[in-house]
């Protein structure tokens, strides 16, 4: 893709609140936006545009950008909303910087945990003709996907448990105060949607993620610290009807990864990346992501999980943050994957920091049964200047 300038992540902030927030959505948005801009070492006057992503059903507010515009600085400033996913807001913001029409962008995604039932809110996404009369929420779609995957992977339950154990151990280090089940993973609890058991998912919590992007000239002129450069981006979509898909694979992730890796010049992802953050609303999703991102084919999952390839001290640590299996700010989980890679590459990951992490990949999935897949490759060493 012909970028006119290379965008970089230059700052960010995350708010994660497991219980009652005690703040209104506007107050939470104001706080996270202010923190993100300050973390970049710039002021709000430097922000050229804003891209936000939120889910109206979760917010309980129609066209939720209307509520956000004031708190995040959208009054008298360019602001767009991508309600599909937080990662789409990131891609849009990055492309706006890459176009050189904007020096900077502020990107935000959020989801409060104020709705009585996430499940019922999600069912509003199903078409009212053929699917509304089925118990089809996101969790059901993930379970259907897991059942299809199980048709070609014999020991799926054991592999899922390995992923779960790995991510929960990482989550206990990265977010010890809020990670789900940080004291250990129970097994054999009741199924919430067969074959997904209650211990295999983390409860939704309130979350807000904000990131600041800037172009090469702005980074150089201001001497911004620790920029993380975007080397490649890819995104693709599966058909909207689950019955039109082979749920046991993810061709859209393969397409998104091919696009991002071609841009970034990646040919050996396991060898070339230092960290990866992958979609893992369920452990089965992370397994599918290994394959879609060419990290590991399904016939190698058992060996890779057995020898610790993707563990914290392995060749390519996956989800050092603990992933969504540990911390699940439900709608902004995708932007959080990108943010977590950027934090690693900026050396800001705290107890979860991988020493010397320079290059990483983030994968975000959203929609029913991972309908939308987005892949972002980042590097804290500045690649060749874009001409």
């Amino acid at each position: 893709m012909a970028y006119r300038t290379r965008p970089a992540v230059v700052g960010g902030a995350t708010t994660l609140i497991p219980n009652s927030t005690g703040k209104s959505l506007e107050e939470l948005l104001y706080d996270v936006a202010q923190k993100a801009v300050a973390s970049a070492g710039i002021t709000y006057d430097d922000i050229d545009g804003i891209v936000v992503a939120a889910n109206d059903q979760y917010d309980g507010r129609a066209i939720s950008v209307m509520a956000a515009s004031g708190p995040v600085g959208g009054v008298d400033r360019d602001i767009l909303c991508t309600p599909s996913a937080g990662e789409h807001a990131f891609v849009t913001g990055a492309l706006r910087v890459a176009s050189k029409l904007f020096d900077t962008q502020l990107v935000l995604a959020w989801s409060p945990a104020e709705v009585s039932s996430f499940s019922e809110a999600q069912r509003l996404a199903a078409d009212p003709y053929y699917h509304r009369r089925l118990p089809l929420d996101e969790l059901s779609s993930h379970a259907l996907q897991a059942s299809a995957l199980g048709a070609s992977v014999e020991n799926l339950a054991d592999l899922s448990h390995s992923v779960l154990t790995k991510n929960r151990a990482n989550g206990a280090v990265a977010y010890p105060d809020i990670a789900a089940y940080s004291s250990g993973v129970p097994r054999g609890d009741h199924p919430v949607r067969w074959p997904i058991f209650s211990d295999m998912i983390a409860p939704p919590i309130t979350g807000l993620v904000a990131m600041v992007l800037a172009g090469e000239d702005f980074v150089a002129d201001r001497g911004l610290a620790r920029p993380v450069w975007i080397e490649g981006m890819g995104w693709a979509t599966e058909p909207s009807f689950l019955g039109d898909r082979n749920l046991g694979g993810l061709p859209s992730l393969e397409a998104a990864a091919a696009q991002a890796f071609a841009e970034a010049g990646v040919s050996d992802p396991v060898g070339e990346f230092d960290v990866a953050e992958l979609a893992d609303a369920t452990p089965h999703q992370e397994l599918l992501s290994y394959e879609g991102l060419s990290l590991c084919r399904r016939d190698g999952w058992e060996a890779a999980l057995g020898d610790g390839t993707f563990h914290a001290d392995g060749r390519l640590p996956v989800n050092l943050s603990g992933g969504a299996l540990s911390v699940n700010p439900i709608f902004c989980t995708g932007l959080m994957r990108i943010s977590e890679v950027a934090r690693q590459l900026r050396g800001e990951a705290g107890a979860a920091q991988k020493e010397g992490a320079a290059r990483g990949v983030a994968h975000a999935a959203s929609g029913i049964a991972m309908q939308y897949n987005t892949v972002i490759v980042m590097n804290n060493q500045q690649p060749g200047t874009v001409q």
Binding site: S20, G22, G60, S119, E120, R123, P128, Y129, Y130, H131, R132, R133, L134, P135, L136, D137, S140, A143, L144, Q145, S147, A148, G150, A151, H190, P191, V192, R193, W194, P195, I196, P239, S240, F241, L242, G243, D244, L247
Partner: protein, 153 residues
């Protein structure tokens, strides 16, 4: 000072237009107890449930094709919690590729004891042959709940 919350319940009714294709599909279920798909003229795929156009070729579909009643399970799940506007749980539901169809249709599985999820799941594994069953004519209203799938003996 107490930090307040405000509880709100909304009750809005929508009256969605189904269009010609879905209307015919549900009319055939109600009146004739059969499942119809639509064929795409450019790639020959039979889309079930039927759509007025293919989202792959972007061509309008041009032929009705009866599919089933037999088929194979492509994906399934069992859920134990209640949902608004649906029958009492537990439910088994999933996607079935009906004979003659190119895409799978979502529907309920019935005739299986769901009290033991692991044993129920063994009977619903992907690839299992099922047959389409219909409610009695007097009970059919032209809806997804008018039909379901049962494992073939």
């Amino acid at each position: 000072m107490e930090l307040m919350t405000r509880k709100e319940v909304w009750n809005i009714t929508y009256n969605h237009a189904l269009g010609k294709t879905a209307s015919e599909f549900f009319t055939q279920i109600k009146e004739s107890a059969r499942i119809l798909g639509r064929r795409c003229p450019s790639d020959g795929r039979v889309l079930v449930p039927p759509r007025a156009f293919s989202d792959e070729s972007l061509e309008a579909t041009d032929e009705w094709v009866e599919v089933g009643p037999g088929g194979r399970i492509e994906a399934f799940t069992i859920t134990y919690e209640p949902f608004q506007n649906l029958p009492e749980p537990p439910y088994a539901f999933g996607y079935v590729l009906l004979d003659g169809a190119s895409t799978a249709i979502g529907g309920y599985f019935k005739g299986i004891d769901l009290s033991d999820p692991a044993r129920a799941a063994e009977k619903l594994v992907v690839g299992t042959r099922v047959k389409t069953c219909f409610a009695e004519e007097k009970d059919r209203i032209g809806d997804v709940l008018d039909f379901w799938f049962e494992v073939q003996d």
